[in-house]
C-alpha cells in the first residue's frame, strides 16, 4: 500500500511539475516572439525546461514525452551552441508550441489513463529532426570546427537544491543522462536507486561521480548546470590517462581556465537567480480537497456558534459576560472565515495569460494582426470559479478576432487603427467580479441577428418591442451564428452558448453591448465565490428556502387591486405599470401551508438576465450569509432536482433549500385548479 501511495504522489508530482513547466515555457515563447528572436536567457531557460521534462518523463517511463522533449532539447542545444546560425523564430515557436500541446495533452491523458499517442509524437519528432537537419546543413562549417576531443577523465560532485527531495532519484536521472556522453561512470554512493539511505549521504556530501568523456570541460559544466535541481557542481579534471594527449590538453586547459572564469560568472548569475527563486517560494501547494474540508468546517463553526449564542435555553437570562465572550468568539470566527475564503482566491493572471496563445494562433491563421490588452488581471476569484472561466474567455476572444475585428484594409478604409485591439478587463465590485471582453471591431449587426432569429424561429417577442440589449442577447442562444461559413475557429454557433452555460452554472450572468462600427463589449458578472452566498431565507409551510440575494429585486406585500387573472387562471400582478407573473411556491411543490391568499403572504420579485417574476411565500425569515452545500451525491444521481441549486444549514440546525433563480424565472408555473 505504501509503495503504491508514494508512486501515486510521485506521478502526481510529475504531472504537476510538467504542467507547470509547459506553462512557463509557453509564456517564454510568447514573450520572445514579441521581441522577435530568442535571447540567450530564453534559450537557456527553454533548454533547461525541456531537459527537466525529458528527465522526469523518462524517470516515470513515458518514452513518448521523453523522446520528444529530447529532440526539442537537441534543437535548442544546437541553437545555443551555434549562436550565429540563422533560424526562423516564428517557425521554432510554432514547433515548440505544438510540442507543448502534445505534452500537455499526454500528461492530462495520464490522469485519465489514456494510452499515449505515439504516432503524434513521432510525427513531431520527425518535424523537429527535419528542421534541425536544415539548420545543421546551413551551418556545417561551424560544426566542423568543433574538434573531437579524446577521452578525458573527470570528477564531478553534484549538490542538489535544498529541500528538493528524492535526491537519490534525481541522482539516478543524472547518471542516466550522462550515459549519453560519458563512459566508465563510477558513483559514490553506489546503487542510488536501491538504497534509500543514499538520499541522506547525497544531501550531506553531494553526489560524487567519476567518469570519462570526450566533451570539453566547459561543455560539461554548462550541461550539468542545466540539469534540474542542481544547486552547485564541482567539476574537476583528473589525470589525463594518455600522455599522448598532453599536447592537446595544454591547449584545451588554456581554454578551460579562460572559459571557467566566464563559467564562474555565469554560475554566480544562476545562483543569484536561484536564490531569488527560493526566496519567492514561501508558497506551498495544498490539495484543494483539504481546503474544501477546512472551509466546510469553518462553515460548521459559524453555524454552531450561532446555535450556541442563540440557544433557546439562554432566552430571558441576564448573561453579560457570556454575551461579551460570545461576541469575541464571533469576531474571531468571522475573521477566520474571511481568511479561509481568501485562501481559495486565485488571481486571474494565468487565465488571462492563456488568451495570449489563442490570439497568437488565430492572428497567424487568419492573417489579422491583433493587439491584446489586459488589465486588472490580479483580480482574485474563487478557485472553483476560475475553472469555469477559461472556456468562456477562449470562446469570446475567438469570436472577437473572427467576427468582431475587420481585416486591415477595411479598418484603414474606416479610419480606424490598422491593428485591432481586444481588451480583457477585470475588476471587483461588491461581492461580484466583472470581466469585460471588448473589441474595437465592427460591432453586432442587429438586422442580421434579427433576420437569423426570424429564420430560426427563436423570437419570443415582436421585433418592434425588443430593446437593443435584448437583440444583442439573442446571440447567446444555442445554435446561433451569423457567420455563414463554419471555420476552424467559429461559426458553429456553439461558442457563445457555452459561455452562457458556463457562466450561469457558477451563478453569474452575461450581457453584451454593442455599437455598430465601434465594437462590442461582453460583460460577465461573476460572484466572488460560490461557497458562501448572501441569501434571503423565506418560509413556505414548514419548509425553509433560501434565495440568493443577488437575484432579488424587492419584496413587498401585494395590494389586492393590483392582482388579476388571465383566462386560464394564471395570476399576475401589476407593479408600477409593469406586469409580472406570480409563482406560488406551495403550489409549485405541493407544500402544505396555511398561507394561500396572496394578501396574507409576501411577494419577492426575482430578476435574472433582465427577466423578472414574483415569487409568493409565507413570510421572510431574514437575510443571512449561508454556506452552500451541494445536494448529497446520491440524490444528484437519482434525479437532477429542478429548481434547487443546493442546500444550507440555518442557525437552528435545520436545513434550508437554496432556490435556483434561473429556475424560478424560467420554469413553467403550476396553477392549482378550483381556487
Amino acid at each position: 500500500m505504501a509503495v503504491q501511495n508514494s508512486g501515486d504522489s510521485l506521478l502526481e508530482m510529475f504531472i504537476f511539475e510538467t504542467l507547470q513547466n509547459t506553462e512557463q515555457l509557453e509564456q517564454i515563447i510568447l514573450d520572445t516572439e514579441k521581441e522577435d528572436g530568442f535571447s540567450n536567457n530564453a534559450i537557456n531557460e527553454i533548454f533547461r525546461i525541456m531537459h527537466t521534462i525529458k528527465g522526469s518523463a523518462a524517470m516515470m517511463s513515458y518514452p513518448e514525452i521523453a523522446s520528444l522533449a529530447h529532440k526539442a532539447e537537441d534543437l535548442f542545444y544546437f541553437i545555443r551552441e551555434n549562436k550565429d546560425v540563422k533560424y526562423s523564430c516564428s517557425h521554432v515557436s510554432d514547433l515548440i508550441l505544438l510540442c507543448m500541446d502534445y505534452i500537455n495533452n499526454e500528461v492530462s491523458g495520464i490522469r485519465e489513463n489514456r494510452d499515449p499517442n505515439a504516432d503524434e509524437s513521432n510525427r513531431l519528432i520527425e518535424e523537429l529532426d527535419n528542421y534541425l537537419c536544415k539548420l545543421k546543413g546551413a551551418s556545417t562549417d561551424t560544426t566542423n570546427s568543433e574538434k573531437m576531443l579524446a577521452h578525458i577523465s573527470y570528477k564531478a560532485i553534484f549538490y542538489f537544491e535544498y529541500g528538493c527531495e528524492m535526491e537519490n532519484i534525481r541522482a539516478y536521472s543524472i547518471i542516466r543522462d550522462m550515459r549519453e556522453y560519458a563512459y566508465d561512470i563510477v558513483t559514490v554512493p553506489e546503487n542510488v536507486l536501491d538504497n534509500d539511505e543514499t538520499t541522506n549521504i547525497i544531501r550531506k556530501s553531494g553526489f560524487l561521480v567519476y567518469f570519462t568523456s570526450d566533451k570539453a570541460y566547459s561543455e560539461l559544466q554548462s550541461l550539468f548546470m542545466n540539469m534540474p535541481f542542481i544547486r552547485d557542481i564541482d567539476l574537476t579534471l583528473t589525470d589525463v590517462d594518455i600522455c599522448l594527449q598532453a599536447e592537446n590538453e595544454n591547449t584545451t586547459s588554456g581554454r578551460v581556465t579562460v572559459e571557467s572564469e566566464s563559467e564562474k560568472i555565469k554560475n554566480e548569475e544562476t545562483l543569484i537567480k536561484q536564490d531569488n527563486h527560493s526566496s519567492g517560494q514561501s508558497i506551498i501547494s495544498i490539495n484543494i480537497s483539504k481546503l474544501d474540508k477546512l472551509m466546510n468546517l469553518v462553515g460548521e463553526v459559524v453555524i454552531s456558534e450561532s446555535m450556541v449564542a442563540n440557544n433557546p435555553d439562554l432566552k430571558g437570562l441576564e448573561l453579560q459576560s457570556f454575551q461579551k465572550e460570545a461576541l469575541q468568539l464571533h469576531k474571531i470566527i468571522v475573521e477566520m472565515q474571511d481568511l479561509v475564503m481568501s485562501m481559495r482566491l486565485v488571481p486571474l493572471t494565468t487565465t488571462f495569460q492563456k488568451t495570449h496563445r489563442i490570439v497568437r494562433d488565430m492572428s497567424k491563421k487568419l492573417g489579422k494582426e491583433v493587439n491584446l490588452e489586459l488589465s486588472g488581471e490580479d483580480t482574485e476569484v474563487d478557485k472553483s470559479i476560475i475553472e469555469h472561466l477559461s472556456d468562456p474567455l477562449m470562446h469570446l476572444v475567438r469570436n472577437c478576432i473572427d467576427h468582431g475585428l475587420e481585416s486591415e484594409e477595411v479598418r484603414i478604409a474606416l479610419n480606424k487603427p490598422a491593428i485591432g485591439t481586444i481588451t480583457l478587463e477585470a475588476y471587483n465590485s461588491g461581492s461580484n467580479v466583472y470581466i469585460l471582453v471588448h473589441d474595437d471591431g465592427r460591432g453586432l449587426n442587429k438586422e442580421k441577428i434579427l433576420e437569423k432569429a426570424r429564420n430560426n424561429n427563436i423570437l419570443t417577442k415582436p421585433e418592434s418591442e425588443m430593446t437593443d440589449k435584448e437583440i444583442c442577447s439573442l446571440i447567446f442562444l444555442p445554435g446561433f451564428s451569423t457567420n455563414a461559413e463554419v471555420s476552424e475557429f467559429s461559426g458553429r454557433g456553439v461558442g457563445l452558448d457555452v459561455v452562457m452555460q458556463n457562466i450561469t452554472s457558477i451563478g453569474g450572468s452575461v450581457s453584451v453591448e454593442s455599437t455598430e462600427g465601434m465594437g462590442t463589449t461582453v460583460t460577465m458578472k461573476i460572484p466572488l465565490t460560490v461557497a458562501i452566498i448572501d441569501g434571503m431565507n423565506i418560509k413556505v409551510g414548514a419548509k425553509n428556502f433560501t434565495i440568493p440575494i443577488t437575484a432579488i429585486r424587492e419584496s413587498f406585500k401585494p395590494e389586492n387591486g393590483s392582482i388579476f387573472m388571465d383566462t386560464e387562471g394564471n395570476e399576475m400582478i401589476m407593479v408600477r405599470g409593469e406586469c409580472y407573473a406570480i409563482m406560488k411556491l406551495h403550489k409549485q411543490w405541493d407544500i402544505e401551508t396555511e398561507v394561500t391568499e396572496l394578501s396574507d403572504g409576501i411577494l419577492i420579485m426575482v430578476e435574472q438576465e433582465e427577466k423578472r417574476r414574483c415569487i409568493f411565500a409565507d413570510c421572510l425569515l431574514g437575510q443571512q450569509q449561508v454556506v452552500v452545500k451541494s445536494m448529497p451525491d446520491y440524490i444528484k444521481r437519482i434525479k437532477k432536482v429542478e429548481g434547487l441549486s443546493g442546500c444550507t444549514l440555518l442557525g437552528d440546525g435545520s436545513i434550508s433549500l437554496i432556490l435556483d433563480p434561473a429556475w424560478l424565472i424560467n420554469s413553467e408555473i403550476k396553477y392549482g385548479k378550483g381556487e
Partner: protein, 165 residues
C-alpha cells in the same frame, strides 16, 4: 506500514460474516456491518420535491447533509407512522453517506458463510435486493445487498416515468 496493513486485515476479519439485523413488520433483515457507520434516532426531515416516494428527504447529521431512504417504501410495504423505535442506519456505500429508515434495529450477529444460502429464483426481477438467506438457529434473516438498493434506482425511475405516460 506492514503493521497498519495487518491491523486493517484483522479489522476486516472481525467484520466479515457479521451482520446488523433490523426488522420491518415480522421479517428480519441483515446488512453487512462493514457498511454501517452509525445508528441514529429519527430526526426532522427536510423533504425535497420531485424525488421517488421512498427517498424521504435529507437530514442534517452534525453538519453533514445525508439523504434518507425509507426501506419499507423501497420494498413496497405499507407506510408505518414513525415512532420512537424507528431508527436510521447510516451507511457508507460507494463513498456516499446514506441513511436507511427501518422499524427498529435488533442486534449484531455472526453468520458464517456455511449458514448462508442463495435466494431461490422466483422470477427474474424479484429478490434483486437479497444477497443471501442466513440461518440463525430457527430464524431466517434476509441478507440485503445495499449496493443494489441504491444502484437500482434508474430502473425504478424509468418505470415511474413509463407509468406517468
Amino acid at each position: 506500514m506492514a503493521d497498519v496493513k495487518r491491523i486493517t486485515d484483522i479489522e476486516e476479519d472481525t467484520q466479515s460474516g457479521r451482520f446488523l439485523t433490523f426488522n420491518l413488520d415480522n421479517e428480519f433483515y441483515g446488512i453487512e456491518i462493514r457498511y454501517v457507520t452509525e445508528i441514529i434516532n429519527m430526526m426532522p426531515i427536510t423533504t425535497i420535491p420531485g424525488l421517488p416516494e421512498y427517498i424521504k428527504g435529507i437530514i442534517n447529521l452534525r453538519g453533514k447533509i445525508i439523504p434518507l431512504m425509507d426501506v419499507r417504501l423501497r420494498f413496497n410495504k405499507p407506510v408505518l407512522e414513525y415512532n420512537d423505535r424507528t431508527c436510521v442506519i447510516v451507511a457508507l456505500i460507494d463513498n456516499m453517506d446514506i441513511g436507511f429508515i427501518v422499524d427498529s434495529v435488533a442486534e449484531v450477529l455472526t453468520i458464517p458463510d456455511t449458514d448462508i444460502v442463495d435466494p431461490p429464483d422466483i422470477n427474474k426481477a424479484s429478490n434483486k435486493f437479497i444477497k443471501g438467506i442466513g440461518k440463525v438457529g430457527e430464524e431466517i434473516k434476509l441478507l440485503l445487498d445495499f449496493e443494489c438498493m441504491i444502484n437500482c434506482e434508474e430502473e425504478a425511475i424509468i418505470a415511474e416515468k413509463i407509468s406517468n405516460y
